[in-house]
Symmetry: C2
Subunit: 525 residues, 2 copies
């Protein structure tokens, strides 16, 4: 481990201040001293990104596709060194880290594919009408353009897929924007290896110096400095609600406000309707025991809230789920900080009026979390907004509603969510159509008879949702459409063919769908 | 004039506090006493909008298209009463008001057409793969959904096209969101007539009570109350930079921040390159004299900044343009407030270091503005950010650059703009390619050899731009894509066919383009 910052292609470590990575599994510091970026280094990185943008924005989709593919290749090239470092820094299993690496590579390659396809540019052309009265209709051509340097805050719970070369970085680079990554303090070594891979790929594919930088920070100072910098044009963030909101406020209070896309997790309500529950009790229970405890519940889509109507089917579910959770064992969390917060937030939740601890898993070791089930009445839930807050980790609160009316009340006081899950058969959906509609209103994704954990990376995915799930419900953090966060439309009026971007020229050399005079077509003009 | 608020279908005037409309042309108050909405009335309107949303979100595209078409019809039905009231309240000409009415009707009809077409829903479908290992690939279907009640702030300079039934209202209603309009204090009668038309249309087409409300306010209180209301989900604003920014801050500092789309105008730089200027001097001068003075310069796309390189062609342009402007006469402005601001902002600009008054039109009457040309060196412009600020009205500042380098420096310190115009022939574009690129970077629309005034309403139009032109460069306020401001994607995972919205069902009954497994198609599944 060199422990240095990447200021574009240049390795730099001006500071004498170090931080270290920590293994929660081994309860010990890991090798490597990581030098905190100085203000001068941060400033140099942003300036380089801004200069690089002037070249990078003019690269073709094919050139950027080669770059992204090469990043994927370089990540695979890191082989076991990367897998093992990520395991040690996160306490996640080998299988999980390997799966995450596949996902990271898949994301990079899917953006490369999108770039080669080209239709993401959304070209629209209106041909002129020189004879129109009273005014001539001009020639108008519009498409999406990159916006400038993007800052990426890496996610604690996805050391690869939502970190240094994760979804935010891949989509911002694909769009034509240089990226500045703030390394996550809890996986500094993983960041270094992936940053190496990106820099190597940039050099091999001839990208401009400054297209990527990686900076090491301690506390909030570096992140705040980056978000406030006038040359930074957008920010991607994955993390806690308080952290995301603080940065959002900073970004909006700048002289020039910028989009700050924060994905802040949610409690992902699961609504159990009686018909389906009766029919498939065993399956539902098994799925949920697994979903709650998967990777120590450290997913933004962890089912933190389970809602049902009082009665035999729900009783059966609670009994069987409790039994499985009781048998589950505690597991090591991602970081000391996350572990401390899990127990303090769990405690706060359990202290609320009417909340009872139902059951918990085994084990009391330091840095490990016990899967926990609590229970509360619908009435108490409706009257206490605190209960709609996330406890990050393997914690689920079961809300028992007295009747259909109380269920509707619960539906109407649910905050914005990444996902809401409906466990229902056809009869349930017919009977509770209005209730399901209400739950849909605050969800980014509505899942039927599944579990919220597991987010497919594809164009049909929307990983977003109303606040506080994210700061902007109009955009997704997962899937190809994530590229839209880092683009803005520009219209060219009566522009000479020689100055038009390739996608807007008369001849459709990219062979993409374009909207010409209101019709989608691949024909040339 | 009844002078009342519309709380949905209900006319209401609880307050004893009145305001009046004023005619700057006649320098007198106009008939009608307009009752300021009380807090109770405002609250009732928002509650009604929120309840109406539950029904309105489920109306079909065809139903909403009928509604929009009927609004257009009802506006035309107001005949001369509307035209004359708008003329008296704005001092704009009959021709201009009639043209604006045509534009308003065109906008409503073009959103109706978009609704009937249906492809604006952007449906994306990924079919499942039950045999995929290690996890089954689910069935995922995504499309855009309305977000809830939208507040519209009407524009002083567009009493019809960007006011009560203007672009913001039409696009928000088209998207499936109820609208609450804050009537503009300077065209209260016009607002009332158009609000009547919308309410009539809503009743005729069976829209839910609360789909539209119109509220009268005095000062900032009503607007602030609306923006802060938790049930309001988005805001459209057209107006000044300070007003837009204040409301933006309010919207972002809410517990749940909401999109506030403010279009705050800009100085719309025009860059004169020597080749084209030499060739077509007369035409360019004539176009610009007309564009600067058009409707007293009261357009968000008024050319407030003209930039050129020192030399014979620019000298000729300045001389000829001065001559035309000197001959132009002063004209009545929209409101007393706008008139006062014009002269105080003009004065501030003229007092800046190195700025000289070149020439001005004739006349010194109250409430009328004299077209004004001022001049400054490129060096002084670069060193003084104040000169990049808008003087709303018929004012243009000519920036004379010493050489190409200075022109590039000017390009790099231009703020975000709705439009930037390039006056250049092929040789100019070849020589100044990099400079034109720099100007493009901060423009929403790049116009070649035309004038910025005149904004075509069509899908290829982008009327937006980086801050401070707007608060969100990713969206347009004009054209069909304006609907995207009021929508958010929702993904349905393994959703039963009976609960899926029509656009996502297997059978493509709407016959629209859908992206199925990565391919655009109109086929059914």
């Amino acid at each position: 481990m060199h422990g240095l910052n990447y200021i574009g292609y240049k390795l730099s470590g001006q500071n004498q201040k170090y931080i270290h990575a920590f293994s929660t599994e081994a309860n010990t510091f890991l090798p490597g001293q990581f030098r905190v970026a100085t203000n001068t280094e941060t400033e140099a990185a942003v300036q380089k990104a801004s200069r690089a943008f002037k070249k990078y924005r003019n690269t073709s989709g094919d050139q950027r596709a080669l770059f992204l593919d090469e990043i994927a290749h370089q990540i695979i090239n890191k082989e076991d060194e990367l897998i093992e470092r990520a395991m040690r820094e996160t306490a996640l299993s080998r299988d999980r880290i390997i799966a995450e690496r596949s996902r990271t590579v898949h994301q990079l390659k899917s953006f490369a594919k999108l770039l080669r396809d080209g239709s993401w540019l959304e070209p629209v052309i209106e041909t002129p009408d020189n004879n129109r009265k009273p005014n001539r209709k001009p020639d108008l051509r519009k498409m999406l353009h990159p916006i400038g340097p993007v800052v990426v805050f890496t996610a604690s719970n996805f050391p690869l897929a939502y970190s240094t070369a994760g979804g935010d970085t891949a989509s911002a680079l694909a769009a034509g924007n240089p990226v500045l990554v703030k390394a996550h303090e809890s996986h500094l070594g993983t960041n270094e290896l992936v940053a190496d891979a990106i820099i190597e790929a940039a050099k091999i594919t001839g990208m401009p110096d400054g297209v990527f930088s990686s900076l090491i920070g301690s506390g909030n100072a570096l992140g705040q400095e980056l978000v406030k910098h006038p040359l930074v044009k957008a920010v991607g963030f994955t993390g806690s609600q308080s952290g995301g909101r603080d940065l959002f406020n900073l970004a909006q209070n700048r002289k020039q406000p910028i989009p700050l896309f924060a994905e802040m997790g949610s409690i992902n309500p699961v609504v159990l309707f009686p018909g389906e529950l009766k029919l498939n009790l065993k399956k539902v229970v098994k799925n949920y025991a697994a979903s709650i405890t998967l990777d120590v519940g450290q997913f933004c889509t962890n089912p933190g809230l389970i809602i049902g109507i009082n009665g035999k089917p729900l009783d059966g579910f609670i009994k069987k789920l409790s039994k499985l959770i009781r048998k589950s064992s505690s597991q090591t969390m991602l970081s000391e900080n996350i572990w401390t917060n899990f127990y303090s937030n769990r405690q706060k939740a359990l202290e609320q009026k009417g909340v009872k601890l139902l059951t918990e898993g085994e084990g009391h070791e330091e840095l490990k979390a016990r899967p926990t089930l609590a229970i509360v009445s619908g009435k108490n839930f409706v009257n206490n907004p605190h209960l709609a807050q996330e406890v990050f980790g393997p914690f689920s609160l079961i809300v028992v509603c007295n009747d259909d009316d109380e269920l509707n009340q619960v539906a109407s006081c649910i905050n914005g969510q990444l996902t809401t899950t409906i466990i229902a058969n056809k009869t349930d959906i017919k009977k509770y159509r209005h209730t399901v509609q209400e739950f849909k209103e605050n969800a980014g994704r509505l899942i039927f008879n599944g579990v919220p954990t597991g987010v497919e990376v594809c164009k049909a995915m929307h990983h977003g949702g109303p606040y506080p799930a994210t700061t902007d419900a109009r955009f997704t953090a997962v899937g190809e459409d994530a590229i839209k966060r880092w683009l803005r439309p520009v219209t060219y009026q009566d522009c000479p063919e020689t100055f038009l971007p390739e996608a807007l020229r008369n001849k459709n050399t990219l062979k993409i769908y374009r909207t010409i005079n209101g019709k989608l077509t691949r024909k040339s003009l």
